[in-house]
């Protein structure tokens, strides 16, 4: 059930959720869905020619997973803003944990602001994000 306005206050947390291990198939599926066919995300030879050990995930894939985590919580039709900063790279085999909490409430607009993060298990923050949702 989507939380109601009265159930959301500053500090309210969304239950953390684990995704992964991220597979090359997940990466290729996202590249097909998004239209970003940069070979650095699926072609090891190309990635190595640019100085990376292997191909690595698309930043917007883990950003999209974070967006799904937020809309699964507060509702796909309620999102009014979503922004990310891309930090650590994500590699095939990584486990990711999404978490988030309410940082602001606007009584006049009936919106809440969230801070969100994708953390690599055994690593650091891969994506930090913010979102605004309208809440009934």
């Amino acid at each position: 059930m989507t939380p109601t306005w009265d159930e959301l206050s500053i500090g309210t947390e969304c239950a953390p959720r684990e995704y992964g291990p991220l597979t090359r198939t997940d990466i290729v599926r996202y590249q097909g869905a998004s239209g970003d066919f940069n070979p650095i995300h699926h072609d090891d030879d190309f990635a190595q020619s640019a100085g990376y050990p292997t191909a690595f995930s698309v930043g917007m894939l883990q950003a999209g997973i974070l967006a799904s985590y937020a809309t699964d919580w507060l509702g796909p039709r309620n999102v009014r803003a979503f922004g990310v900063q891309l930090r650590e790279q994500v590699w095939p085999g990584d486990h990711l944990v999404c978490s988030g909490h309410v940082v602001a409430r606007d009584d006049a607009d009936r919106t809440v602001d969230l801070e969100l993060v994708v953390t690599r298990v055994g690593g650091g923050a891969a994506i930090t994000g913010t979102a605004t949702f309208a809440v009934q």
């Binding site: 999209g64 799904s68 809309t71 796909p76």
Partner: protein
């Protein structure tokens, strides 16, 4: 090398149909289980769905061609989407136009100048109303890209 004179440049507007099957495909690829995306004939778009605009931009006329970034030294730094109301739904046709908002440089922590290119894409509905905006920050690193320099 990034061409700083590209600030203010725009591409030509084009249209992007918002398709139900594409929404379902994108939601699955981003690991959403929300039935709104999978089963609703007038599904809303996922928050980062507008990245699929690349399927509709006419080849060769992207503003990035004017900026002249080096793809091997390119990092995606950040991305923001704003929706002026509920997100657009399947069946909508959006008119899309991108402009180069800013280009600036910063010294990387390990030396080497990093160049930041900020673009803004506007999405308007059939009535010409601005329904969504996407702001993207791309980074060209001074050396081969590694996140430690960011």
């Amino acid at each position: 090398m990034v061409d700083k004179s590209a600030v203010g440049a725009t591409d030509d507007a084009f249209t992007m149909p918002v398709e139900r099957g594409k929404i379902r495909e994108f939601a699955r690829a981003t690991m959403s289980s929300a039935p709104e995306y999978a089963d609703d004939p007038v599904a809303p778009i996922p928050p980062t769905f507008l990245t699929t605009v690349s399927f509709w931009s006419p080849p060769g006329q992207s503003v990035f061609a004017k900026v002249k970034m080096d793809l091997r030294r390119l990092l995606h730094g950040g991305q923001e989407y704003v929706f002026h109301g509920p997100p657009p739904v399947a069946g909508t046709e959006l008119t899309v136009q991108t402009r180069v908002e800013d280009i600036y440089e910063k010294e990387g922590r390990r030396g080497g100048v990093m160049t930041f290119v900020v673009t803004v894409t506007e999405f308007r509905d059939a009535a010409g109303i601005l329904v969504a905006e996407a702001r993207s920050t791309a980074i060209e690193t001074g050396k081969p890209a590694t996140k430690e320099d960011a």
